[in-house]
Symmetry: C2
Subunit: 160 residues, 2 copies
């Protein structure tokens, strides 16, 4: 079992997508700027998210990604899953052949833990996250910073 930057980035990016869905497709460049994730890395993650059917892409200028389904029907567990970070805690992938073809001493413990984690994460949708106050606050802060960066860029262009 592992949860690393890969899975965390995927959820963060999907949440960013959901938060900015109202104004059409969201480009990876925007997400990269707001969330501080490298663009190339995001491209890799979204390739997987697209193959899993969680997002759809729109090419060309003004394009980007959108959620394939409503934010109320996408949960955190399937996002983490889509980027190949198995939240399974067993060594044997639940098969029970962890020690010479038989169950190891702690097999059932890890099975229970796996279920616990999966239940927790699959019960949280993107919409649930959007409605959380801390997340709204963080998102607002990020948008403001992004806007001020754009202003800075425009004013330096004007002075050239």
């Amino acid at each position: 079992m592992r949860l690393t930057t890969k899975g965390r980035y995927a959820v963060t990016a999907m949440l960013d997508l959901a938060l900015h869905a109202s104004r059409g497709p969201v480009s990876l460049n925007d997400i990269s700027g707001r969330q501080g994730i490298s663009l190339s890395y995001l491209e890799q993650l979204f390739a997987k998210l697209r193959r899993s059917g969680l997002v759809a892409s729109v090419r060309g200028p003004g394009g980007g990604y959108r959620l394939s389904r409503e934010d109320t029907s996408i949960n955190v567990a399937e996002i983490v899953d889509a980027v190949n970070e198995s939240m399974d805690a067993t060594r044997c992938n639940r098969k029970g052949d962890c020690q010479e073809g038989l169950e190891c001493l702690t097999h059932h413990l890890w099975l229970d833990l796996s279920d616990q984690i999966h239940n927790f994460l699959s019960d949280i949708t993107l919409n649930d996250l959007i409605e959380r106050r801390e997340i709204q606050a963080t998102a607002a802060r990020q948008d403001e910073r992004a806007n001020s960066r754009i202003d800075l860029l425009l004013s330096s262009e004007g002075s050239n």
Copy 2:
């Protein structure tokens, strides 16, 4: 966050220790044989378990390791912790500086997940595991196999 062979082996070995505590210290060699874990690797793990005060060692022939505390007061979370497998799901170690010194968009989500996992694992003691029927069955099977290996060894010695 990660749970790999390291943490799983540590819990398995500690459980083996608890199961065989009645007949004095348990040698790593015995655990290695029963649980199919390499002796050298066990030595590394028990060095950490000892430094964390979970086990005490008895040197010399007939020596081995014992639990430092009763099996009712050692929980799974602290065992996993002792071998440096942090079950913390956040990137920032709960500090909240995950994105340029501030909280990332999903900080609270991973915080909640961490608590969920920790609560689950810290609520299970070695004694709880010992009392589980599947574990008793697996342990009985392992002991039987270990005994038959000893018989085999003795009979081949006799024929030399």
